[in-house]
Symmetry: C2
Subunit: 575 residues, 2 copies
């Protein structure tokens, strides 16, 4: 078989670190899947549905340089588009590859399956342009250039991109890459950087205290090393927004906690709002992470380092890469008298609970937090999980993933699949409400089929408690169909052993990875502790715990945010 | 509480026959849901996820005048958009109501949850314009007019529409409707109709044989009565495309079967292609229903009645409503010497099978067809189910629903929910492959929560056999995670009894509708017969049958279509 456009795409994917492609087959993608199946470097991860595949690719893209999603025209791509939009909102690099009808079929403009029947084959690509940073319609003539252009944009902008590949184009001949993708040219203007440095020095020199507030864009812009150097150089007390918990080590002595505007704990709020100088790194304010924009920070005392610019006391210097601005701050910090270093922060001590205590929002998250280990991969779904964990410190080197801007409930279960395949050295722990988990539960089957161990805690409160907190506390619409989660987990893992047993003739007993799955119900602290201890003893096992809590119990942080949300929803005028 | 915009919307929904609204709650829809919950005329049907809700609303819209779907901004609406696009492709009237952030929140243009964070609140509405026929952004000032305009368009065009309702606008005061929605003015031009009639007479007078080919648009345009009058008046042999099976009575003596172009059975193909006059009613050719456009019909002998025009021997007359054109044909047929009536068609006799025979694509569909009853509601998913049933005649008055143009696998399971609530006097029977069912299985919980009886046959062939038939016969990507369907059905029905038991404090034993669910595995004809007989004896029960067939077995009709699809996918030039 000669070298094709699809081979070129797979070479580029491999070059940027993509070892798994997530999706659901469709007749317009099958020849592409043949190439993937023949490629030892890249594995196809077939998902139960496209939304799950999209979330999995997003989870992968939050760990690796890029995630990859492959769906079929129309029906497949649209089922995934909520996930792609989430990647855009949350700055996650994902390439969405869509298998399209053959060039000849499109030219004939007839009522082809997976179209609206009106002869227009661009409806769905136009929809995707709203939620992607680069799009291409591949032809035999433009394919190599367009693949390079879209992948480069996705990597540089940390946003999703879209490639439409007609079936015949994927199979047309191509020339292998002659060189790696071009490195991104540095964005920083030296004069802008020098001016920034001078302005920073004049602000910081007389200051007696520095605090640092970091957020997710530090990770997205690849500036984590520079941030940590700055934390080391200053020893400054620091916080993150809840979106950006993963960018710092929450076990550090000078870590304060999460800053959530007016809803912050006093021990976080005061140092952040009252320091002589506040350095913000990669902060993006959103309603749910800022207590509905209740942050109270004095611009004249703030250094704000963004992705491609930096401001000092309201004066903006650009273009400056985040990495360069942070490196400059490290250097400046080294030259200052260190009146800035602060004493170690007193970390709050978690309440101790008796074994027999019933699970509640309070005891549940305390018990989960106690069971987390350094280096875990924690995914907390929007709702009581994300906010319940918001006030608990994470152990050293935990990667914490949430989705507070896009806030699409159900995200974390498929994201477990993608993130766990991307970070196979970490133990995945998913924390998710039962209402949320119903949106994406099918991927529990895919997780088992791929032999992934880990923990899934399904918070059983019979519905959408995050919505109950906002409105409809007792309303029927906030309850859900009642599911038996341990039984469900087992039903979806009936053939985890068939992973490598594609041929129908093969004996199921002869094949691959087996994920032993254990499903449990926990109603007390002790039952949950036992379940989590059992999971720790059997790391290759998938443990699904249905943790029963009262339907109307709400973590305090979520209650405060929900009151603000309810008030915002009633508001006809901007405030 | 004063009368609000939401109350106005609900009054109009009720006026057009909407008694159920499908969706998933979100904080931007909660106040709307309060009004629905307070309205005794309209029931909220909370689904596991939005794609399921969208399919359910589509199933409802295929039975009633309109379906209604309610989702939240961004995350919710995008998860449903594949279903809405399917409603567009398949001409199904569905109103998609989206709860949006408050007017003031939108004006502030900040990074609000469920947005991309860029201050643009119109991304998702722009996406929806590609797959809806009318869109409106409600304000307190325009709400009544815009609600009326969009609903009227949806009803007239039989296509989905989109209403964006900011939270504050839904709660703003409104004036109740002073009159019903205006009736649609007839489209027919009397001169065009007279010219059409004259041309028809000149074509039909010398003819010795008439055949009729009908399709789905007859049902969509509300012209079923006129079609049946025409069938009675002519006694003509007739066929439908597979999309339009429901528009005729397949137990009729003069019914031929499905016309699928060159793939048709000879007993269908010859009368349709060789009659002196062929009357086509509401036919839309699509690749999968025409054997990839292999229909072979002589234009000079054809009368083609479309939604708003009619052609005779290639000459088009417009505007003429389908109902008027068909009524004219009935009258003309009554005046002709009836050399046109044909003898009764010999219906093929189904093969008889032994109890012990293993299930296969042949024995499976024969056995299912034997168990169908008059008046059933049969939903056949794209794949072996739709094509496997394609060669089996349906009993009297069966409503047959498939989705051969949009062809989104997994559609029928949620569509069961919507169609069964819309047609509560019919027994629902869903036929779906295991690969397809994984996309939407969660709604098995919603079906049980709503106490719906019926039959779900899950065809267990370990994957996507429709894709295997096209490409990748033995490929790993066409296999799926193995699920235990009977266990799954029970896991998702753990609390069917809690339907009306919203309050967490309520005793589960005190409340409402109980759907007894039975899950079974069938490997032989006898096991399947027993399962279907048990279902017939217990009509209020949900019976889920996992019917095991060989992975590589393909119904003959699907095999022929798949070969054509494979050839089309390799084609760079239009042919």
């Amino acid at each position: 078989m000669s070298y094709t456009v699809t081979d070129y795409l797979l070479d580029r994917l491999h070059e940027v670190g993509v070892e798994h492609v997530f999706g659901v087959p469709g007749d317009f993608t099958l020849s592409m899947l043949d190439h993937i199946e023949a490629d030892a470097r890249i594995e196809w991860v077939g998902c139960a549905n496209e939304l799950g595949a999209g979330y999995a690719a997003d989870g992968y893209g939050r760990i690796r340089r890029m995630g990859a999603l492959c769906t079929t025209f129309g029906v497949g791509e649209l089922s995934a588009v909520n996930a792609v939009a989430g990647s855009f909102a949350e700055h996650v690099p994902v390439l969405h590859v869509v298998g399209a009808p053959a060039t000849g079929t499109q030219a004939a403009a007839r009522a082809t399956h997976h179209t609206l029947g009106d002869g227009d084959f661009r409806h769905f690509a136009r929809m995707s342009t709203e939620v992607t940073c680069a799009e291409a319609f591949l032809t035999a003539a433009n394919a190599e250039d367009e693949i390079d252009r879209v992948i480069t944009e996705v990597l540089e902008r940390r946003l999703p991109g879209y490639l439409s590949i007609p079936t015949d184009v994927g199979e047309s001949s191509a020339t292998p890459p002659s060189a790696p993708l071009p490195a991104h040219p540095g964005v920083t203007n030296p004069q802008a950087l020098a001016a920034f440095e001078a302005r920073v020095r004049s602000l910081m020199l007389p200051s007696r205290s520095i605090a640092i507030l970091a957020d997710i864009l530090v990770q997205r812009m690849g500036a984590s090393d520079e941030l940590h150097a700055l934390l080391d150089a200053t020893g400054a007390p620091h916080a993150t927004l809840m979106w950006g918990r993963r960018v710092v080590d929450e076990s550090a002595a000078s870590y304060l906690g999460s800053y959530v505007g007016a809803v912050s704990a006093p021990g976080v709020r005061e140092p952040i709002e009252r320091s002589d100088v506040l350095i913000m790194a990669g902060v993006q304010w959103t309603d749910l992470t800022s207590g509905f924009f209740s942050e109270h920070l004095a611009t004249e005392r703030t250094v704000d380092v963004g992705p491609r610019s930096a401001s000092v006391a309201g004066e903006t210097f650009a273009p400056i890469a985040m990495t360069d601005a942070l490196a400059a701050l490290v250097e400046i910090a080294g030259t200052l008298d260190s009146a800035t270093a602060s004493p170690a922060v007193a970390h709050p001590v978690r309440d101790q609970h008796e074994h027999a205590e019933p699970l509640s929002q309070a005891t549940l998250w305390d018990t989960v937090a106690d069971a987390l280990l350094p280096h875990d991969l924690v995914l907390a779904d929007q709702g009581t999980s994300f906010y319940g964990m918001g006030t608990h410190r994470l152990p050293h080197d935990v990667v914490f993933i949430g989705q507070p801007l896009w806030a699409s409930i159900g995200y974390t279960l498929p994201a477990f699949l993608g993130a766990a395949l991307a970070a196979s050295d970490r133990r995945p722990v998913v924390l998710i409400g039962d209402g949320a988990a119903q949106l994406t539960a099918a991927e529990l089957g895919t997780i088992q089929r791929n032999g992934l161990g880990g923990i899934v805690v399904v918070v059983d409160n019979d519905g959408y408690t995050i919505e109950r907190a906002i409105r409809g506390r007792h309303a029927n619409y906030n309850t859900i169909a009642r599911w038996d989660w341990p039984t469900l987990a087992n039903a979806l893992g009936a053939g985890a052993r068939t992973r490598a047993g594609a041929d129908a003739g093969a004996d199921a007993s002869t094949v691959g990875l087996v994920a032993r799955t254990v499903g449990l119900v926990a109603r007390t602290v002790g039952e949950l502790r036992d379940a989590l201890a059992g999971a720790q003893e059997n790391p290759s096992r998938l443990t699904v715990v249905q943790a029963v809590v009262p339907a109307l119990d709400v973590p305090p942080l979520l209650a405060a945010l929900a009151a603000q949300a309810s008030s915002a929803n009633a508001r006809p005028q901007a405030t």
